[in-house]
């Protein structure tokens, strides 16, 4: 079994490597564009996947409603931007306010969802919490659909085309570069939060051992709420950015994005924050190459195929710890 997998891995890498080198030499620009497109895509996945992985790390729950939080973030930004735009406010103010409102409201929704649908189920069977999460996801989708509209709403880009970026705009648009830079900044801030602040330390402690953390005086409920809030905030940023990039949103965008981000989180090893980022980038970039070089209609099949392949050879994801099961 072992040498078969090694052989398969080597031949696969060899074939991909040969193909990649040939392509790079023949059409370097196209390759580079696809790479940057994949990087953008991966950044968005990463912003959403973080919420999944952090929540999973603490309460071992697939937060199915996370994609909906991301959608609500984008929706709120759209509403705020449109209203303020019609009142004739300054563009810069609108951009800032739209982001602020999107983040604040997503956090509030994440917080509320946790209190209603997950907190009473802390000690229930894990599948019950999952069904509750699925129910919440359905509810939020339909709530937004009924209160707003089932149609796609055009989303005017909040990010302007920067003047100084003009020379590079044919390779990567200013929206895309903004997405990548924002993601990097968010990642660094999040890393600092987890590593050095009190709440970050409490989160890590709770993730390791909830009972022990509680014994040491950490309020576990508050830590869980904080995790949902932080995860929702990054998802909201992702939501607004992707809405600027794609240019239209509706109530259903959260589902597929959430699914892809969850795949990315599992790919990297769920529960691990660097794993989520790495998994997202791997997924985004490889998807971009696949659609660029092969068939675009099989894009989602490819995402799942890559997941299955990686999990067969590394059952806990790329960076996941291989826990030995304790008796």
């Amino acid at each position: 079994m072992r040498w078969i997998s090694i052989l398969l891995g080597l031949s696969g890498t060899g074939a991909v490597g040969f193909f990649a080198v040939r392509e790079i030499i023949m059409y370097p620009m196209y390759f580079f564009e696809l790479f940057l497109g994949g990087l953008t895509r991966g950044s968005i996945y990463a912003l959403i996947a973080l919420g999944y992985t952090m929540v999973y790390g603490i309460i071992q729950l697939i937060n199915f409603a996370h994609g909906e939080i991301y959608m609500i973030g984008a929706m709120t930004a759209l509403i705020v931007a449109t209203v303020l735009g019609m009142w004739g406010w300054n563009t810069a103010v609108i951009v800032i306010l739209a982001f602020v409102f999107a983040i604040v409201y997503s956090c509030a929704y994440g917080f509320t969802v946790e209190k209603i649908a997950y907190k009473p189920l802390r000690n229930a069977p894990r599948l019950s919490a999952l069904i509750s999460a699925i129910g919440m996801s359905l509810f939020l989708q339909n709530y937004v659909m009924l209160a707003q509209t089932p149609d796609y709403l055009p989303f005017q880009s909040l990010i302007p085309d920067f003047q100084f970026w003009e020379p590079f705009a044919h390779i990567i648009t200013s929206v895309e570069i903004t997405i990548i830079i924002t993601t990097v900044i968010v990642m660094i801030l999040l890393g600092l939060l987890i590593k050095f602040t009190r709440i970050g330390k409490a989160m890590r402690a709770t993730a390791q051992d909830k009972v022990m953390a509680a014994l040491l005086g950490i309020n576990v409920n508050n830590v869980i709420s904080a995790t949902f809030v932080v995860g929702s905030a990054t998802a909201a940023i992702g939501g607004v950015l992707i809405a600027c990039h794609v240019g239209q949103i509706n109530f259903y965008i959260g589902f597929l994005a959430g699914l892809k981000a969850f795949i990315a989180a599992v790919l990297g090893g769920i529960g691990s924050i660097p794993g989520a980022v790495l998994g997202s980038l791997v997924l985004g970039i490889s998807e971009s190459f696949f659609t660029g070089y092969f068939w675009s209609e099989y894009e989602d099949v490819f995402a799942f195929a890559i997941l299955v392949l990686i999990l067969i050879f590394r059952p806990s994801g790329i960076l996941g710890r291989h826990d030995t099961q304790k008796v």
Binding site: L127, G135, M136, L138, N142, F155
Partner: protein
């Protein structure tokens, strides 16, 4: 908690929800015509509704918590106690049988058709119950096997003219085969990794069906799938529905019989043991992989048979019938009904499938209500509507030979 404090708490919650839902409930933007509508009345509604809802919610939440503290007595669900009691069992089952036999003759065709869908879900639920409820393997791609069955009937009929009765056993075999094929590489994974990979396989099969035109006719689907015949006799449209209804009833009964038998067999006990503790199970000499694979394959068998009936009933299938939401619905049937409990799964399927159909009167809001109900049921009944009762073996420890006595049984 005193009433005054409760009211104050609910008032705060109502206020919080009014702020929370403000942008989405009150402001409606139309970015094409540049119109903003402010719907202030919605704010009032949200306030009143959440105020009442939070009062009710907190009341019931407190009651369940109080119930947990003092309730040490037998918490066997009512229906199990009824079924154990011989005086009630016969008349109850008789009444049930009479109802289901008379059903298609009393009610109009529309209701029979809905009932058939519900009964197909009973089959699917019982099949998935083997995988999720008994063996504890979270399978989010169950719909893949359902699709295999439906497409097996449609395609075998289209190309080779095979009849319903020939395809039904064939599709069961095909389902088992697919179960083994898909299960083989992925069953080494645990818990949520398994869930996401099975979900992936389910989606892969659907997307392939959607894009591989030569094979499956793509998104246009396959039409004119014939209904089953009765020894070569083809009924008219209404009678066909009734005929299919009775076929499904027979299959459901068969499923219940098999599942009940399986549950009490050596392999069934191995599944339950494996779900509860893998390591202890391996120490007892149970082949972990083989046992899991059997559960996965058997679950797939029932899904495929359900698929054949679905195709025969609707006479038209396309890949849109096999999305991930279908898998989720079946999983909800199992979990909301009560994992591992056959009666629970049946009740779950009837409630979950019939409810949205009859909620069509309020069509717009039905998925909203459905989602909310899922959350509510899970919060207040985390073990499902009818929770499973485990067999308890008691030993007599006197001089007489040790004898197993069944205290609680899950007779159906």
């Amino acid at each position: 908690m005193p009433i005054k404090q409760q009211l104050k708490q609910s008032l705060i919650i109502a206020f919080w929800f009014m702020i929370l839902t403000f942008p989405i409930m009150v402001i409606k933007v139309n970015t094409i015509q540049n119109i903003i509508v402010f719907r202030w009345f919605n704010l009032l509604w949200v306030g009143i509704l959440t105020f009442v809802a939070s009062l009710v919610w907190n009341y019931f939440l407190r009651r369940t918590e109080d119930g947990k503290k003092k309730d040490f007595e037998d918490d066997t669900p009512l229906i199990h106690r009824l079924l154990q009691n011989d005086r009630f069992r016969r008349p109850f089952l008789g009444l049930l049988a009479a109802f289901f036999i008379a059903y298609p003759f009393i009610f109009p065709m529309y209701h029979t058709s809905i009932m058939i869908s519900a009964l197909v879900y009973v089959m699917l639920g019982l099949g998935l119950n083997i995988v999720v409820g008994l063996a504890g393997l979270l399978d989010l791609g169950y719909v893949a096997f359902y699709a295999v069955g439906a497409y097996a009937y449609a395609l075998l009929n289209l190309h080779f003219g095979l009849s319903f009765w020939m395809v039904l056993p064939l599709s069961a075999l095909l389902g088992t085969l697919f179960g083994v094929l898909l299960g083989y590489p992925v069953l080494r994974l645990r818990g949520d990794y398994l869930a996401i990979v099975t979900l992936g396989f389910g989606e892969i099969i659907r997307i392939v069906l959607e894009n591989w035109d030569e094979f499956s006719n793509g998104p246009r689907g396959i039409a004119d799938i014939p209904a089953p015949t009765f020894f070569g006799h083809q009924f008219n449209q209404d009678n066909t529905m009734i005929y299919i209804y009775f076929i499904v009833i027979a299959l459901v009964l068969m499923t219940i019989f098999f599942v009940n038998r399986l549950e009490n067999s050596k392999i069934g006990r191995a599944w339950i043991a494996l779900r509860d503790d893998e390591i202890a199970c391996q120490a007892m000499g149970i082949d972990k992989f083989k046992t899991k694979l059997t559960a996965f394959a058997l679950g797939a068998t029932w899904a495929a048979m359900g698929g054949v009936i679905f195709a025969a009933k609707t006479s038209y299938i396309n890949p849109m019938s096999f999305t991930i939401w279908e898998s989720i619905t079946i999983l909800c049937v199992v979990v909301i009904g009560g994992m591992g409990s056959a009666i629970g799964v049946i009740a779950g399927a009837l409630v979950l499938i019939l409810l949205p159909e009859y909620l069509r009167a309020v069509a717009e809001y039905r998925m909203l209500v459905f989602g909310a109900l899922q959350v509510i049921v899970m919060v207040f009944k985390p073990d499902g509507l009818i929770k499973s009762v485990r067999k308890v073996y008691t030993f007599k420890t006197s001089q007489e030979p040790q004898q197993e006595k069944i205290a609680h049984g899950t007779h159906t």
